[in-house]
Structure formats: structure tokens, C-alpha cells
């Protein structure tokens, strides 16, 4: 096992070196980066540009010193995603007389046009997933909360977002604890056939829900005991100490301007009809 660098900071998806350049950016800048860059794969369908975007993201991973092995953890998810999309589009994508039929499986016609859409959507999603992994790898719950508050999102909503993020982590821990407890009682889920696995997963739901309810009860008591009372979205009189620790720097302004230009470019491309999927190389095949 490799030695972990001395100073690491826990992010939502793992650990990041404390001296990563990404930490020079204000959390609000990082949050806006997620929102703006995510608009790219959602609005631009041309696969070549989404492949370029994915390459750009991988470069950012290196610059931000995100451990690229984290992507390997998702390789099965990438493969499964491809099959799900391919099946959905090829089997249920519909048929028109002008479509080129590649194969026929009984009543189902596998057409190039549907498969092409599957490839387009898959590449879009890969780019979107890379953006999300990057964000989660470089961001802490605290950054999300600070980012939202800096963008003037009410405290209650930003705090709820933070709690939701944390509850995902806690539920995973609970799930693993229950699994370990079952293993300790000689239930080897891995050895069971798929149908049995699905049935057994039902067993996890009850304790997980019970634990979640107990946790929410505890959090509610703890919130009350620390003087927090819910009075709607406006929390008048509450100091934002944590937000006061952050300042926007010249670098932030520079990145924000670049993002604004980038977003304007995406919007303009949509209005002007640039980078259409029909202009793609795939459509010349």
C-alpha cells in the first residue's frame, strides 16, 4: 500500500492534498464551476466536443492533483451505463422507414440511427460524470455549504444540503456495518445467486430506515440544544462565522469571468445553431 502524503483533506469522495491548487479557489467559485461546466454536456450534444471536454476534465484532475485511480472505481459503472443506454436506445428507440437496419432480433430492428444516439448520449454522460467526480473529489461538505451561502442561498437550505450529503456517507457506513454483522452470522451475500441477493437486499431496508429515523431524531435534539430554532427560510440574527473566513481573490474573479464567457459561448452556440450533433463525424458514417 502506498504511503499517504502527510497533509490530506477529506473531500466528499476521498482525500485531497491540502496544497492542491483547487483550494486557492473560493468554494462559491468551485460550485459555480460545477453548475456552468455541467451545462456543457447537457446542452452540447456533438460527441467530438464532449470527448474534448472529457480530456479537459482529465487535465484538470491532474492540475488539481486528484488521484486518477478514483476513476477506476467507477469503471464497472461506466460499462453498465453503456449497456443500459445501448439497450434502451436500440431496443426501445423506435423505428422509421429511413433508418438503416443493422440486425433484426425477432420483431426488434437494431438500427444504426438509434445506436448512434446511444453513443452520443453515452459520451455526454461520461463527460457529466467526470465533472461530478471531479467536484466531489475536490470539495468538502463545508465547501458546498459555504459556496451556497456565498451565493445567498438561505442558511436552512444550505444546511439541509450539507446534512443530505453527510447522510449519504453515514448511510453507507450503516449499510456496511449491517453487512459485516450479517457476514459475522455466516451470511455470505457474494455467494448467493442474483435473485437471492435481490431478496436479501430487502433485509437491509428496515434497519437502514430505522437508523436514519433515529439519526434524524438525534440531529433534531442536537440542533435544538445548540439554540437553533427553525423560523422559515429567513434566519434573522444568525452570524455566518464560517463564511467570514473566506474571501474572493483575483484568481476567483479571473475564473468567474472565464466561466461567464464560457457560459455565454455555450448559450450563443445554442442560439446560433453551432456544434449541432448533425455536424458530427458520426453522422457522416
Amino acid at each position: 500500500m502506498g504511503e499517504m502524503p502527510a497533509r490530506m483533506r477529506r473531500s466528499l469522495l476521498g482525500y485531497m492534498p491540502v496544497d492542491s491548487p483547487i483550494y486557492r479557489l473560493h468554494p462559491a467559485t468551485r460550485l459555480l464551476f460545477l453548475l456552468v461546466v455541467s451545462a456543457y454536456p447537457m446542452l452540447i450534444r456533438m460527441p467530438e466536443l464532449n470527448v474534448l471536454g472529457s480530456i479537459f476534465m482529465l487535465i484538470l484532475y491532474k492540475v488539481a492533483r486528484v488521484d486518477l485511480t478514483i476513476i477506476k472505481n467507477y469503471k464497472m459503472a461506466f460499462v453498465n451505463l453503456f449497456f443500459v443506454i445501448a439497450i434502451a436506445y436500440t431496443f426501445f428507440g423506435g423505428y422509421r422507414p429511413e433508418y438503416r437496419v443493422l440486425a433484426e432480433l425477432g420483431p426488434v430492428k437494431i438500427c444504426w440511427e438509434n445506436l448512434r444516439w446511444a453513443i452520443v448520449v453515452y459520451i455526454q454522460l461520461i463527460f457529466a460524470i467526470l465533472i461530478m467526480i471531479f467536484f466531489l473529489s475536490t470539495t468538502r461538505e463545508r465547501d458546498v455549504v459555504v459556496g451556497l451561502r456565498a451565493l445567498k442561498v438561505p442558511f436552512v437550505l444550505s444546511y439541509m444540503a450539507g446534512l443530505a450529503l453527510r447522510s449519504i456517507g453515514l448511510s453507507i457506513i450503516d449499510f456496511n456495518t449491517i453487512r459485516e454483522a450479517e457476514k459475522a452470522r455466516a451470511l455470505d451475500l457474494d455467494a448467493l445467486p442474483f435473485s437471492e441477493k435481490v431478496k436479501k437486499f430487502g433485509m437491509y431496508i428496515v434497519p437502514l430506515v430505522a437508523l436514519a429515523i433515529r439519526r434524524s431524531d438525534e440531529v433534531s435534539n442536537a440542533l435544538d440544544s445548540r439554540g437553533f430554532s427553525f423560523s422559515g427560510l429567513k434566519t434573522a440574527g444568525r452570524t455566518d462565522y464560517i463564511l467570514s473566513k473566506y474571501r474572493l481573490t483575483v484568481l476567483d474573479y479571473l475564473v468567474l469571468v472565464l466561466m461567464a464567457l464560457f457560459f455565454a459561448g455555450i448559450v450563443a452556440s445554442q442560439l446560433m445553431g453551432w456544434f449541432r450533433v448533425e455536424d458530427s463525424l458520426l453522422y457522416r458514417l
Binding site: E218, N221, A222
Partner: protein
């Protein structure tokens, strides 16, 4: 002057029998009170009555009156009472509300609307008192050791500078090192922070020397309420009620029964040593 007044307090959760069966209690400002008793004697329920979680957050039937720092707990919300009463739960993880130590300690201070400078000053003070290093500020509290977690929980309450601090079995979920760390913090609190402290605790050997009063709660009733020396005087009575005094007290009690020692029950190790020397000298 009494800062806590409990009169004829009876409480039962919905669908259960009476958990508290008529508690009368008065705690003076600055007192350090230890509450002991076996499991299911109503200690946690009593603690929750003192910070208003009962009756505000739990359905049940309450009779009698609880007044803390001039606030009747029926008439004030938990958040209002929290400005006077800090509450430390047994499980440190269940009370964490944030993902870094800094946010955790500052959370209540932000709710109080204190200026940033004052939050910073209180945060540093609370961390110093609980001996939490400053480089822990950016760490998630979940990743600390058990003792450190509970110290962070205590720091986040201390930072509010409440007049009353209630600690509900603060060492029950900790390993021996963690327990010692927390007891050390309680000792420091007693020495340098003059709040009213109510501790529910099983480690009697550590709490007895710190407490001004010890209260035995048994099946929802206060059976004994006395200064530590008087409280531990009748060791047999305590053992009959499932309270296990420190071993040295039990040993010295046996020596007394056999006529080998006739002094008071020792509260500290030093006192126990003197008692044993005296007993050995008599042989």
C-alpha cells in the same frame, strides 16, 4: 440562589409507566452535582427535563414544574433554554452537526448571533479549555478518537458559556483513555469555569472528588442527595441500590465493619492510602 428548581416532577413517555415519580430538587448557582443510579432509573429523562427537551420534543405526560435560570421549561422552547443550559449527549457522534471541528464549535455561537470577533475568541477559549489542538479545526469530528470527539462536543457547549452544563454519561461510550481525557476536562471546567454542572456518570471514583453534591436516582425517585462524603458513608445502602462505589470505598467499609478503621470513607486515592495505613497500623 437556586438556578434550577424542580418541584414534584413526574413524567411518563406515551405508553409507558411513570419514569420520574415526583422529583424535588434545587441546585444552587456554581454547584457541581453528580447524578448516579442504575440503568432505567430515569437519569437521562431527568437531564432532558432540565434542558427542556422534555416536554418540548418528546410526547408524554408531565406533572410538576421545572424552572431553569428563571425559565419554566413548559413555557420556553429548547432553543431559548439552550442559551442558559448546555447539554452534552452520551454519544458524541449523535450530537455533531457539522463536518469540521471549527464549524461544530462555532455553530451554536452563530445561532446566538454573536459578532465574528467574539465567536473567534470563544472558539479559541473553548478549544484551549478542552485541550483540542488548533490544527484540528479543519478536521471532520467523525475522524477523531472517542475522547477527542467528546471533548469537541464539550467545547461546542462550553463556547456558548451557558450558566448550566448538563453532561449525560459523557464517558459511557469511550475507551479508558477517552474517559480519562473527558474527566480531565471536567476537572479543568470545575477549576477555571464557574458554571453549574450536572453530570450523570458511572465513574464514581473520578466524579466523587469533583462533586459538591451527589444525587442517587433510583426507579424515578431521589433516594439520597448529599455531599460526597456523606453520600458514600453508607456503602451498603448504595450497593443495595445497584450503585457500585469505587473499590477502595468498599474495602475501607469492610475494614470499618471489622473494627480496623473508624474514620470517614475516603473520596480520593490519597485519603484511601491514609485510611489503609491507619488500618494496617492497628493490626
Amino acid at each position: 440562589m437556586a438556578i434550577i428548581e424542580v418541584e414534584g416532577l413526574r413524567w411518563r413517555y406515551l405508553g409507558s409507566d411513570w419514569v420520574l415519580k415526583g422529583i424535588d430538587l434545587s441546585v444552587e448557582e456554581g454547584e457541581f452535582v453528580a447524578v448516579v443510579g442504575p440503568n432505567d432509573s430515569g437519569k437521562t429523562t431527568l437531564a432532558m427535563c432540565l434542558n427542556g427537551l422534555i416536554p418540548n420534543n418528546y410526547p408524554g405526560v408531565m406533572e410538576g414544574r421545572v424552572v431553569v435560570d428563571g425559565m419554566d421549561t413548559r413555557e420556553h422552547s429548547v432553543a431559548e433554554i439552550a442559551r442558559s443550559v448546555g447539554f452534552v449527549f452520551p454519544d458524541p457522534e449523535s450530537q455533531f452537526l457539522s463536518m469540521t471541528v471549527e464549524e461544530e464549535v462555532a455553530f451554536a455561537l452563530e445561532n446566538m448571533g454573536l459578532p465574528v470577533d467574539e465567536i473567534e475568541e470563544r472558539l479559541e477559549w473553548a478549544l484551549r479549555l478542552t485541550k483540542i489542538p488548533e490544527d484540528y479545526l479543519e478536521k471532520p469530528p467523525y475522524e477523531l478518537s472517542g475522547g477527542e470527539k467528546q471533548r469537541v462536543a464539550i467545547a461546542s457547549i462550553l463556547a456558548m458559556r451557558p450558566k448550566i452544563i448538563i453532561l449525560d454519561e459523557p464517558t459511557s461510550m469511550l475507551d479508558p483513555i477517552g474517559k480519562t481525557e473527558v474527566i480531565e476536562v471536567l476537572r479543568e471546567m470545575k477549576r477555571s469555569y464557574n458554571a453549574t454542572v450536572i453530570v450523570i456518570e458511572h465513574r464514581l471514583e473520578d466524579i466523587a472528588p469533583l462533586a459538591d453534591r451527589v444525587i442517587l436516582l433510583y426507579r424515578g425517585e431521589v433516594l439520597r442527595d448529599a455531599p460526597p462524603r456523606e453520600f458514600f458513608e453508607d456503602v451498603d445502602f448504595l450497593l443495595e441500590h445497584d450503585v457500585f462505589p469505587p473499590d477502595v470505598m468498599v474495602v475501607v467499609n469492610e475494614l470499618r465493619k471489622r473494627g480496623l478503621y473508624n474514620g470517614p470513607i475516603p473520596l480520593t486515592l490519597e485519603e484511601a492510602e491514609r485510611a489503609l495505613r491507619e488500618a494496617l497500623g492497628r493490626r
